[in-house]
Protein backbone atom coordinates (compact mmCIF):
# COMPACT_ATOMS: atom_id res chain seq x y z
CA UNK A 1 0.00 0.00 0.00
CA UNK A 2 2.87 2.34 0.82
CA UNK A 3 4.24 1.91 -2.68
CA UNK A 4 0.92 2.78 -4.27
CA UNK A 5 0.55 5.80 -1.99
CA UNK A 6 4.03 6.96 -2.97
CA UNK A 7 3.26 6.62 -6.67
CA UNK A 8 0.01 8.54 -6.14
CA UNK A 9 1.82 11.29 -4.23
CA UNK A 10 4.50 11.62 -6.92
CA UNK A 11 1.85 11.76 -9.62
CA UNK A 12 -0.02 14.49 -7.77
CA UNK A 13 3.20 16.45 -7.19
CA UNK A 14 4.12 16.15 -10.86
CA UNK A 15 0.66 17.24 -11.99
CA UNK A 16 0.75 20.17 -9.60
CA UNK A 17 4.16 21.26 -10.84
CA UNK A 18 3.06 21.01 -14.47
CA UNK A 19 0.02 23.12 -13.63
CA UNK A 20 2.21 25.71 -11.92
CA UNK A 21 4.57 25.81 -14.89
CA UNK A 22 1.67 26.33 -17.28
CA UNK A 23 0.23 29.14 -15.11
CA UNK A 24 3.70 30.71 -14.95
CA UNK A 25 3.89 30.74 -18.75
CA UNK A 26 0.36 32.07 -19.26
CA UNK A 27 0.82 34.81 -16.62
CA UNK A 28 4.15 35.86 -18.14
CA UNK A 29 2.60 36.24 -21.59
CA UNK A 30 -0.44 38.00 -20.13
CA UNK A 31 1.86 40.56 -18.45
CA UNK A 32 3.72 41.03 -21.73
CA UNK A 33 0.60 42.41 -23.37
CA UNK A 34 0.27 45.16 -20.74
CA UNK A 35 2.20 48.42 -20.81
CA UNK A 36 4.89 49.45 -20.17
CA UNK A 37 6.45 47.42 -23.01
CA UNK A 38 10.03 46.63 -22.19
CA UNK A 39 11.76 46.67 -25.60
CA UNK A 40 15.13 47.51 -24.09
CA UNK A 41 14.96 44.43 -21.86
CA UNK A 42 14.10 42.27 -24.90
CA UNK A 43 17.08 43.67 -26.85
CA UNK A 44 19.33 43.02 -23.83
CA UNK A 45 18.14 39.41 -23.64
CA UNK A 46 18.52 38.96 -27.41
CA UNK A 47 22.12 40.00 -26.99
CA UNK A 48 22.58 37.57 -24.11
CA UNK A 49 20.72 34.53 -25.46
CA UNK A 50 21.38 35.12 -29.16
CA UNK A 51 24.51 37.10 -29.91
CA UNK A 52 26.59 35.71 -27.07
CA UNK A 53 25.69 32.13 -28.04
CA UNK A 54 26.86 32.65 -31.63
CA UNK A 55 30.40 31.42 -31.13
CA UNK A 56 29.50 28.16 -29.43
CA UNK A 57 26.73 27.48 -31.95
CA UNK A 58 29.04 28.14 -34.91
CA UNK A 59 31.70 25.90 -33.41
CA UNK A 60 29.18 23.08 -32.87
CA UNK A 61 27.79 23.56 -36.38
CA UNK A 62 31.17 23.40 -38.12
CA UNK A 63 32.17 20.14 -36.48
CA UNK A 64 28.71 18.62 -36.82
CA UNK A 65 28.72 19.32 -40.58
CA UNK A 66 32.28 18.03 -40.90
CA UNK A 67 31.69 14.78 -39.05
CA UNK A 68 28.42 14.19 -40.92
CA UNK A 69 30.25 14.60 -44.24
CA UNK A 70 33.04 12.29 -43.08
CA UNK A 71 30.70 9.54 -41.92
CA UNK A 72 28.34 10.07 -44.85
CA UNK A 73 31.10 9.96 -47.43
CA UNK A 74 32.49 6.59 -46.30
CA UNK A 75 29.00 5.09 -45.95
CA UNK A 76 27.70 6.38 -49.28
CA UNK A 77 30.88 5.33 -51.08
CA UNK A 78 30.04 1.71 -50.33
CA UNK A 79 26.94 2.12 -52.46
CA UNK A 80 28.55 4.40 -55.04
CA UNK A 81 26.29 7.25 -53.96
CA UNK A 82 28.82 9.93 -52.97
CA UNK A 83 26.95 12.35 -55.21
CA UNK A 84 24.11 12.64 -52.70
CA UNK A 85 26.43 13.56 -49.84
CA UNK A 86 25.28 17.20 -49.91
CA UNK A 87 21.63 16.30 -49.53
CA UNK A 88 22.40 13.82 -46.73
CA UNK A 89 24.32 16.44 -44.78
CA UNK A 90 21.83 19.25 -45.47
CA UNK A 91 18.70 17.25 -44.64
CA UNK A 92 20.17 15.86 -41.42
CA UNK A 93 21.17 19.32 -40.29
CA UNK A 94 18.11 21.28 -41.39
CA UNK A 95 15.55 18.78 -40.15
CA UNK A 96 17.11 17.46 -36.95
CA UNK A 97 20.64 18.27 -35.91
CA UNK A 98 20.48 22.02 -36.41
CA UNK A 99 17.44 22.70 -34.20
CA UNK A 100 18.31 20.05 -31.59
CA UNK A 101 22.03 20.72 -31.19
CA UNK A 102 21.67 24.51 -31.31
CA UNK A 103 18.90 24.30 -28.69
CA UNK A 104 21.05 22.08 -26.47
CA UNK A 105 23.98 24.48 -26.75
CA UNK A 106 21.73 27.46 -25.92
CA UNK A 107 20.41 25.52 -22.91
CA UNK A 108 23.93 24.84 -21.69
CA UNK A 109 25.20 28.38 -22.21
CA UNK A 110 22.26 30.75 -21.81
CA UNK A 111 19.61 28.60 -20.09
CA UNK A 112 21.77 27.67 -17.13
CA UNK A 113 22.89 31.29 -16.74
CA UNK A 114 19.25 32.44 -16.85
CA UNK A 115 18.32 30.05 -14.03
CA UNK A 116 21.33 31.08 -11.95
CA UNK A 117 20.68 34.80 -12.47
CA UNK A 118 16.98 34.62 -11.55
CA UNK A 119 17.74 32.18 -8.71
CA UNK A 120 20.28 34.56 -7.16
CA UNK A 121 17.78 37.40 -7.50
CA UNK A 122 15.26 35.23 -5.65
CA UNK A 123 17.68 34.28 -2.85
CA UNK A 124 18.92 37.84 -2.33
CA UNK A 125 15.36 39.22 -2.24
CA UNK A 126 15.85 41.24 -5.44
CA UNK A 127 12.63 39.72 -6.85
CA UNK A 128 10.78 40.67 -3.65
CA UNK A 129 12.23 44.17 -4.04
CA UNK A 130 10.69 44.40 -7.52
CA UNK A 131 7.36 43.33 -6.04
CA UNK A 132 7.52 45.97 -3.32
CA UNK A 133 8.16 48.62 -5.98
CA UNK A 134 4.91 47.53 -7.66
CA UNK A 135 6.89 46.20 -10.64
CA UNK A 136 5.69 42.77 -11.67
CA UNK A 137 8.72 40.43 -11.90
CA UNK A 138 7.01 38.32 -14.55
CA UNK A 139 6.65 41.40 -16.73
CA UNK A 140 10.08 42.87 -16.03
CA UNK A 141 12.24 39.75 -15.73
CA UNK A 142 10.54 36.77 -17.35
CA UNK A 143 8.54 38.13 -20.29
CA UNK A 144 11.55 39.63 -22.13
CA UNK A 145 13.48 36.36 -21.72
CA UNK A 146 10.61 34.34 -23.22
CA UNK A 147 10.33 36.68 -26.22
CA UNK A 148 14.10 36.74 -26.72
CA UNK A 149 14.26 32.93 -26.59
CA UNK A 150 11.57 32.60 -29.27
CA UNK A 151 13.40 35.08 -31.54
CA UNK A 152 17.02 34.14 -30.87
CA UNK A 153 16.93 30.34 -31.14
CA UNK A 154 15.48 30.21 -34.71
CA UNK A 155 18.13 32.72 -35.82
CA UNK A 156 20.87 30.64 -34.23
CA UNK A 157 19.45 27.50 -35.87
CA UNK A 158 19.47 29.23 -39.28
CA UNK A 159 23.11 30.10 -38.66
CA UNK A 160 23.82 26.54 -37.54
CA UNK A 161 22.26 25.16 -40.75
CA UNK A 162 24.35 27.36 -43.04
CA UNK A 163 27.61 26.84 -41.16
CA UNK A 164 26.97 23.09 -40.80
CA UNK A 165 26.38 22.66 -44.53
CA UNK A 166 29.58 24.58 -45.25
CA UNK A 167 31.40 22.40 -42.72
CA UNK A 168 30.20 19.36 -44.68
CA UNK A 169 31.38 21.02 -47.87
CA UNK A 170 34.88 21.56 -46.51
CA UNK A 171 35.27 17.86 -45.63
CA UNK A 172 33.19 16.27 -48.41
CA UNK A 173 34.51 18.42 -51.27
CA UNK A 174 37.76 20.06 -50.21
CA UNK A 175 39.34 17.33 -48.08
CA UNK A 176 37.89 14.17 -49.63
CA UNK A 177 37.86 15.51 -53.19
CA UNK A 178 34.12 14.99 -53.72
CA UNK A 179 32.36 16.65 -56.63
CA UNK A 180 31.54 20.26 -55.78
CA UNK A 181 28.70 20.57 -58.29
CA UNK A 182 27.12 17.32 -57.08
CA UNK A 183 27.33 18.50 -53.45
CA UNK A 184 25.41 21.73 -54.05
CA UNK A 185 22.99 20.42 -56.68
CA UNK A 186 21.97 17.46 -54.52
CA UNK A 187 21.13 19.93 -51.75
CA UNK A 188 19.15 22.08 -54.17
CA UNK A 189 17.12 19.15 -55.46
CA UNK A 190 16.55 17.35 -52.14
CA UNK A 191 15.84 20.14 -49.64
CA UNK A 192 12.23 21.32 -49.76
CA UNK A 193 10.56 24.26 -48.13
CA UNK A 194 8.78 21.80 -45.83
CA UNK A 195 12.16 20.75 -44.36
CA UNK A 196 13.22 24.32 -43.68
CA UNK A 197 9.81 25.24 -42.32
CA UNK A 198 9.82 22.21 -40.02
CA UNK A 199 13.24 23.16 -38.68
CA UNK A 200 12.15 26.73 -37.98
CA UNK A 201 8.98 25.56 -36.26
CA UNK A 202 11.02 23.25 -34.06
CA UNK A 203 13.51 25.95 -33.19
CA UNK A 204 10.76 28.41 -32.21
CA UNK A 205 9.23 25.87 -29.84
CA UNK A 206 12.68 24.96 -28.46
CA UNK A 207 13.41 28.64 -27.81
CA UNK A 208 10.20 28.97 -25.83
CA UNK A 209 10.84 25.71 -24.01
CA UNK A 210 14.35 26.69 -22.89
CA UNK A 211 13.36 30.15 -21.62
CA UNK A 212 10.21 28.80 -19.97
CA UNK A 213 11.84 25.92 -18.08
CA UNK A 214 14.98 27.84 -17.10
CA UNK A 215 13.08 30.94 -15.94
CA UNK A 216 10.58 28.82 -13.99
CA UNK A 217 13.30 26.88 -12.19
CA UNK A 218 15.20 30.08 -11.33
CA UNK A 219 12.06 31.85 -10.17
CA UNK A 220 11.21 29.01 -7.79
CA UNK A 221 14.71 28.47 -6.42
CA UNK A 222 14.81 27.45 -2.77
CA UNK A 223 16.56 29.91 -0.46
CA UNK A 224 20.00 28.29 -0.25
CA UNK A 225 23.18 27.81 -2.27
CA UNK A 226 22.28 24.13 -2.60
CA UNK A 227 18.82 25.11 -3.83
CA UNK A 228 20.37 27.28 -6.52
CA UNK A 229 22.64 24.45 -7.67
CA UNK A 230 19.71 22.04 -7.76
CA UNK A 231 17.54 24.52 -9.68
CA UNK A 232 20.26 25.07 -12.30
CA UNK A 233 20.87 21.34 -12.74
CA UNK A 234 17.15 20.61 -12.97
CA UNK A 235 16.66 23.42 -15.48
CA UNK A 236 19.39 22.12 -17.81
CA UNK A 237 18.40 18.46 -17.52
CA UNK A 238 14.66 19.11 -17.89
CA UNK A 239 15.18 21.46 -20.85
CA UNK A 240 17.46 18.96 -22.60
CA UNK A 241 15.08 16.05 -22.04
CA UNK A 242 12.04 18.05 -23.12
CA UNK A 243 13.86 19.24 -26.26
CA UNK A 244 14.52 15.61 -27.28
CA UNK A 245 11.01 14.40 -26.42
CA UNK A 246 9.31 17.37 -28.06
CA UNK A 247 11.55 16.92 -31.11
CA UNK A 248 10.29 13.37 -31.53
CA UNK A 249 6.65 14.47 -31.31
CA UNK A 250 7.12 17.34 -33.73
CA UNK A 251 9.03 15.15 -36.19
CA UNK A 252 6.30 12.52 -36.15
CA UNK A 253 3.71 15.23 -36.87
CA UNK A 254 5.74 17.07 -39.49
CA UNK A 255 6.90 14.06 -41.52
Amino acid sequence: MDGIARIGRHTLDLTEQMGRMMLFLISSFAWLTRPPFRFYQIIKQLNFIGYKSTFVVVLTAVFTGMVLALQGYYTLRKFGSEAVLGSAVALSIIRELGPVLAALMVTARAGSAMTAEIGIMRITEQIDALDTMAINPLQYLIGPKLVAGVIAVPLLVALFDVVGIYGGYVVGVQLLNGNEGAYWSSIESAVEWKDVYGGILKSISFGLLISWVCCYKGFHTKHSAEGLGTATTEAVVLSAVLILVWDYFLTSVLL
Binding site: E125, D128, M133, N136, Y140
Partner: protein, 253 residues
Protein backbone atom coordinates in the same frame (compact mmCIF):
# COMPACT_ATOMS: atom_id res chain seq x y z
CA UNK B 1 -2.78 53.57 8.38
CA UNK B 2 -1.78 49.91 8.70
CA UNK B 3 -4.14 47.71 10.69
CA UNK B 4 -3.86 43.95 11.10
CA UNK B 5 -6.86 42.05 12.39
CA UNK B 6 -6.64 38.41 13.48
CA UNK B 7 -3.81 37.57 11.06
CA UNK B 8 -2.89 33.88 11.04
CA UNK B 9 -0.18 32.17 9.03
CA UNK B 10 1.15 28.62 9.06
CA UNK B 11 4.42 27.83 7.29
CA UNK B 12 5.55 24.25 6.69
CA UNK B 13 2.89 22.96 9.09
CA UNK B 14 4.15 25.28 11.85
CA UNK B 15 1.84 28.10 13.03
CA UNK B 16 3.89 31.33 12.90
CA UNK B 17 1.23 34.00 13.34
CA UNK B 18 -1.71 32.98 15.56
CA UNK B 19 -4.06 35.91 15.33
CA UNK B 20 -2.03 39.11 15.21
CA UNK B 21 -3.95 42.30 16.01
CA UNK B 22 -1.86 45.39 15.44
CA UNK B 23 -2.41 49.03 14.53
CA UNK B 24 0.60 51.00 13.35
CA UNK B 25 0.40 54.70 14.24
CA UNK B 26 0.65 57.03 11.26
CA UNK B 27 3.76 59.18 10.81
CA UNK B 28 5.62 57.43 13.62
CA UNK B 29 8.48 54.96 13.91
CA UNK B 30 7.21 51.66 15.28
CA UNK B 31 9.60 48.83 16.02
CA UNK B 32 8.56 45.20 16.24
CA UNK B 33 10.76 43.09 18.49
CA UNK B 34 10.66 39.40 19.33
CA UNK B 35 12.79 36.29 19.56
CA UNK B 36 14.52 34.73 16.57
CA UNK B 37 12.03 32.82 14.45
CA UNK B 38 9.08 34.49 16.15
CA UNK B 39 7.71 35.63 12.77
CA UNK B 40 8.67 39.33 12.75
CA UNK B 41 9.85 39.34 9.13
CA UNK B 42 6.86 37.21 8.14
CA UNK B 43 4.61 39.83 9.75
CA UNK B 44 6.38 42.63 7.88
CA UNK B 45 6.02 40.80 4.56
CA UNK B 46 2.29 40.46 5.18
CA UNK B 47 2.00 44.25 5.48
CA UNK B 48 3.24 44.76 1.92
CA UNK B 49 1.55 41.74 0.37
CA UNK B 50 4.70 39.66 -0.17
CA UNK B 51 2.94 36.96 1.87
CA UNK B 52 -0.75 36.30 2.19
CA UNK B 53 -2.37 35.28 5.49
CA UNK B 54 -4.34 32.08 5.95
CA UNK B 55 -6.91 34.10 7.89
CA UNK B 56 -7.41 37.69 8.97
CA UNK B 57 -7.39 41.16 7.47
CA UNK B 58 -4.56 43.49 6.54
CA UNK B 59 -5.99 46.96 6.12
CA UNK B 60 -3.95 49.66 4.41
CA UNK B 61 -5.87 52.93 4.64
CA UNK B 62 -9.03 50.85 4.84
CA UNK B 63 -8.25 48.53 1.89
CA UNK B 64 -7.91 44.88 2.82
CA UNK B 65 -4.88 43.56 0.92
CA UNK B 66 -5.00 40.08 2.45
CA UNK B 67 -6.08 38.48 -0.80
CA UNK B 68 -5.39 41.23 -3.33
CA UNK B 69 -3.34 40.35 -6.40
CA UNK B 70 -1.99 41.90 -9.57
CA UNK B 71 -2.80 45.49 -10.37
CA UNK B 72 -5.02 46.09 -7.34
CA UNK B 73 -2.18 45.05 -5.02
CA UNK B 74 0.33 47.13 -7.00
CA UNK B 75 -1.89 50.19 -6.54
CA UNK B 76 -1.66 49.79 -2.75
CA UNK B 77 2.07 49.08 -2.93
CA UNK B 78 2.68 52.49 -4.45
CA UNK B 79 2.34 53.85 -0.91
CA UNK B 80 5.16 51.59 0.29
CA UNK B 81 8.89 51.12 0.14
CA UNK B 82 10.89 48.44 1.88
CA UNK B 83 14.47 48.09 3.02
CA UNK B 84 15.41 44.40 3.08
CA UNK B 85 17.82 42.68 5.44
CA UNK B 86 20.32 42.27 2.60
CA UNK B 87 19.36 45.69 1.11
CA UNK B 88 18.33 43.70 -2.04
CA UNK B 89 20.10 46.08 -4.42
CA UNK B 90 20.15 44.93 -8.04
CA UNK B 91 23.71 43.69 -8.37
CA UNK B 92 23.86 44.20 -12.15
CA UNK B 93 23.28 47.95 -11.71
CA UNK B 94 25.33 50.77 -10.21
CA UNK B 95 24.17 52.45 -7.02
CA UNK B 96 22.90 55.38 -9.10
CA UNK B 97 20.86 53.10 -11.37
CA UNK B 98 19.49 51.23 -8.35
CA UNK B 99 18.18 54.43 -6.83
CA UNK B 100 16.97 55.68 -10.21
CA UNK B 101 15.24 52.37 -10.98
CA UNK B 102 11.79 53.12 -9.46
CA UNK B 103 11.80 56.62 -11.01
CA UNK B 104 12.52 55.23 -14.46
CA UNK B 105 10.30 52.18 -14.21
CA UNK B 106 7.32 53.56 -12.30
CA UNK B 107 7.29 57.27 -13.11
CA UNK B 108 8.88 56.85 -16.57
CA UNK B 109 11.23 59.76 -15.80
CA UNK B 110 14.54 60.23 -17.53
CA UNK B 111 17.46 62.64 -17.90
CA UNK B 112 18.00 65.56 -15.54
CA UNK B 113 14.95 65.02 -13.37
CA UNK B 114 16.21 61.53 -12.49
CA UNK B 115 19.79 62.70 -11.89
CA UNK B 116 18.64 65.53 -9.67
CA UNK B 117 16.43 63.37 -7.47
CA UNK B 118 18.89 60.49 -7.27
CA UNK B 119 21.85 62.70 -6.42
CA UNK B 120 19.78 64.48 -3.78
CA UNK B 121 18.85 61.18 -2.11
CA UNK B 122 22.39 59.82 -2.32
CA UNK B 123 23.66 63.00 -0.66
CA UNK B 124 21.05 62.69 2.10
CA UNK B 125 22.22 59.17 2.96
CA UNK B 126 25.91 60.13 2.74
CA UNK B 127 26.72 58.41 -0.55
CA UNK B 128 27.18 61.50 -2.69
CA UNK B 129 30.22 60.19 -4.59
CA UNK B 130 29.29 56.53 -4.70
CA UNK B 131 26.72 56.52 -7.50
CA UNK B 132 29.08 54.94 -10.03
CA UNK B 133 29.94 51.95 -7.82
CA UNK B 134 28.32 48.53 -7.99
CA UNK B 135 26.73 47.03 -4.86
CA UNK B 136 29.49 44.42 -4.63
CA UNK B 137 32.05 47.24 -4.25
CA UNK B 138 30.30 48.69 -1.19
CA UNK B 139 30.55 47.81 2.49
CA UNK B 140 27.50 46.38 4.29
CA UNK B 141 26.66 49.77 5.81
CA UNK B 142 26.95 51.56 2.48
CA UNK B 143 24.67 48.99 0.86
CA UNK B 144 22.07 49.64 3.55
CA UNK B 145 22.41 53.40 2.95
CA UNK B 146 21.91 52.87 -0.78
CA UNK B 147 18.85 50.77 0.07
CA UNK B 148 17.50 53.62 2.22
CA UNK B 149 18.08 56.04 -0.68
CA UNK B 150 16.17 53.74 -3.04
CA UNK B 151 13.36 53.44 -0.53
CA UNK B 152 13.15 57.24 -0.10
CA UNK B 153 13.37 58.27 -3.74
CA UNK B 154 9.68 57.67 -4.48
CA UNK B 155 8.71 59.61 -1.34
CA UNK B 156 6.47 56.82 -0.01
CA UNK B 157 3.96 57.18 2.80
CA UNK B 158 5.15 54.00 4.51
CA UNK B 159 8.62 52.44 4.72
CA UNK B 160 9.22 48.97 6.13
CA UNK B 161 12.67 48.14 7.51
CA UNK B 162 13.49 44.45 7.86
CA UNK B 163 16.34 44.18 10.38
CA UNK B 164 18.26 47.08 8.81
CA UNK B 165 21.34 46.64 11.02
CA UNK B 166 21.85 42.88 10.71
CA UNK B 167 25.49 42.05 10.04
CA UNK B 168 26.80 45.53 10.87
CA UNK B 169 29.24 46.50 13.61
CA UNK B 170 27.81 48.61 16.49
CA UNK B 171 29.07 51.93 15.09
CA UNK B 172 27.70 51.22 11.64
CA UNK B 173 24.43 49.99 13.17
CA UNK B 174 24.12 53.25 15.09
CA UNK B 175 24.75 55.30 11.97
CA UNK B 176 21.99 53.39 10.11
CA UNK B 177 19.61 53.92 13.05
CA UNK B 178 20.48 57.63 13.11
CA UNK B 179 19.89 57.83 9.37
CA UNK B 180 16.48 56.14 9.62
CA UNK B 181 15.41 58.41 12.47
CA UNK B 182 16.65 61.55 10.70
CA UNK B 183 14.85 60.61 7.47
CA UNK B 184 11.66 59.69 9.33
CA UNK B 185 11.66 62.99 11.25
CA UNK B 186 12.33 64.93 8.05
CA UNK B 187 9.85 63.24 5.71
CA UNK B 188 7.25 62.16 8.31
CA UNK B 189 6.60 58.78 6.69
CA UNK B 190 5.16 55.90 8.70
CA UNK B 191 8.07 53.61 9.55
CA UNK B 192 7.79 49.99 10.67
CA UNK B 193 11.05 48.38 11.69
CA UNK B 194 11.81 44.82 12.68
CA UNK B 195 14.88 44.74 14.88
CA UNK B 196 16.92 42.78 17.38
CA UNK B 197 18.85 45.83 18.54
CA UNK B 198 17.89 46.04 22.20
CA UNK B 199 18.26 48.45 23.94
CA UNK B 200 19.11 50.81 21.04
CA UNK B 201 15.65 50.68 19.50
CA UNK B 202 14.07 52.12 22.66
CA UNK B 203 16.06 55.29 22.08
CA UNK B 204 14.91 55.78 18.51
CA UNK B 205 11.38 54.33 18.25
CA UNK B 206 8.14 56.15 18.97
CA UNK B 207 6.31 52.87 19.58
CA UNK B 208 7.49 49.34 20.32
CA UNK B 209 5.50 46.14 19.81
CA UNK B 210 6.57 42.69 20.91
CA UNK B 211 5.64 39.59 18.96
CA UNK B 212 5.48 36.52 21.17
CA UNK B 213 4.03 33.10 20.42
CA UNK B 214 2.48 34.37 17.20
CA UNK B 215 0.63 37.29 18.82
CA UNK B 216 1.39 40.89 19.78
CA UNK B 217 2.09 40.48 23.48
CA UNK B 218 2.61 44.17 24.21
CA UNK B 219 2.53 47.45 22.33
CA UNK B 220 3.24 50.80 23.89
CA UNK B 221 5.13 54.06 23.41
CA UNK B 222 8.82 53.37 23.74
CA UNK B 223 9.15 55.04 27.16
CA UNK B 224 6.15 53.10 28.53
CA UNK B 225 7.17 49.77 27.05
CA UNK B 226 10.20 49.43 29.30
CA UNK B 227 7.90 49.69 32.34
CA UNK B 228 6.06 46.49 31.39
CA UNK B 229 5.23 44.13 34.22
CA UNK B 230 5.19 41.03 32.00
CA UNK B 231 8.03 38.90 33.35
CA UNK B 232 8.87 37.20 30.03
CA UNK B 233 9.04 40.52 28.19
CA UNK B 234 11.18 42.05 30.95
CA UNK B 235 13.53 39.11 30.75
CA UNK B 236 13.76 39.56 26.96
CA UNK B 237 14.46 43.31 26.96
CA UNK B 238 16.63 43.47 30.06
CA UNK B 239 18.80 40.48 29.23
CA UNK B 240 21.79 42.81 28.84
CA UNK B 241 21.08 44.59 32.15
CA UNK B 242 18.76 47.54 33.01
CA UNK B 243 18.87 50.70 30.89
CA UNK B 244 17.53 54.21 31.20
CA UNK B 245 14.91 54.49 28.50
CA UNK B 246 16.99 56.23 25.80
CA UNK B 247 18.64 53.05 24.70
CA UNK B 248 21.63 53.48 26.98
CA UNK B 249 22.39 50.64 29.41
CA UNK B 250 22.24 51.98 32.98
CA UNK B 251 25.71 50.67 33.74
CA UNK B 252 27.24 52.99 31.18
CA UNK B 253 25.55 56.14 32.51
Amino acid sequence: MIKLVGVEKTLGGQPVLRGVNLTIPEGKLTTIIGGSGSGKSVLLKHMIGLMQPDRGEILIDGTDIAHLKGRALNEVRKKFAMLFQSAALFDSMTVFDNVAFPLREKLRLSGDSVSRRVNEKLAQVGLADMGHKFPAELSGGMRKRAGVARALVMEPEIILFDEPTTGLDPLMAKSIHDLIVAMQRQFKFTAVMVSHEIPEIFGISDWVAMLKKGRIAEMAPSSEFVKTTDEEIREFIFVGGPFMGQGQPAASL
